[in-house]
Symmetry: C2
Subunit: 118 residues, 2 copies
């Protein structure tokens, strides 16, 4: 399958990987939208949240336990962060392999707050 | 416990509820940041992603299966949407009860795209 994120997970395409285990690979976004911008992807090829099946329930739960762990590892857990899934082109999703954006590192709320986002 | 979202889940405080089941309540955000802005909360009081325990794995997985279902119900699944957790005050979290933002309904990518967000 010609999927960029599958290739990153298989390490046939390079990325700044900061964590990996049997189910997930975590790496820096090459086009960061915040001072800290990390992507968490499952090794399993799932296109998007629209494509989740009931059998993926545990995987998604683990994805957020991984996000919590990465936030602690990066020492951004107490300062705060955002976790974002874009779903579909109209939701801003560019790569058709499920990826969770972890955004953090803003100096203050003025830098963090953007119109149109909660 | 004096928690606004617990009260909404218990229906002792009113909200524009669009869906509910044994584990989740889904309602309109009173301060929408997008044409469609919905909140999905678990009935269980979990403060934030930072406070997840291993036992919450299944609940979080179900939360995203619920988000997928709601997107279909609202007929925004094909047009696309965003799912956002803010974590901690520094991440923009205002209410200390886990809530997943579902954002959608933008006219086009110009309206959707905001600087500082993926």
């Amino acid at each position: 399958m010609d999927c960029l994120f599958c290739k990153i997970a298989q390490e046939t395409v390079p990325a700044s990987i900061i964590y990996k285990d049997d189910e997930f690979v975590v790496f820096k976004d090459i086009n960061p939208k915040a001072p800290i911008h990390i992507l968490i992807i499952p090794r399993k090829h799932i296109v998007s949240i629209n494509h989740l099946e009931a059998e993926d329930e545990s995987l998604i739960g683990k994805m957020f336990l991984t996000a919590k762990k990465i936030a602690k590892k990066l020492e951004i857990d107490e300062k705060g962060y955002k976790l974002v899934f874009n779903v579909g082109r109209g939701g801003g999703q560019i790569i058709d392999h499920l990826h969770l954006h972890l955004l953090a590192g803003w100096k203050n709320s003025t830098e963090r707050n953007v119109p149109g986002m909660p």
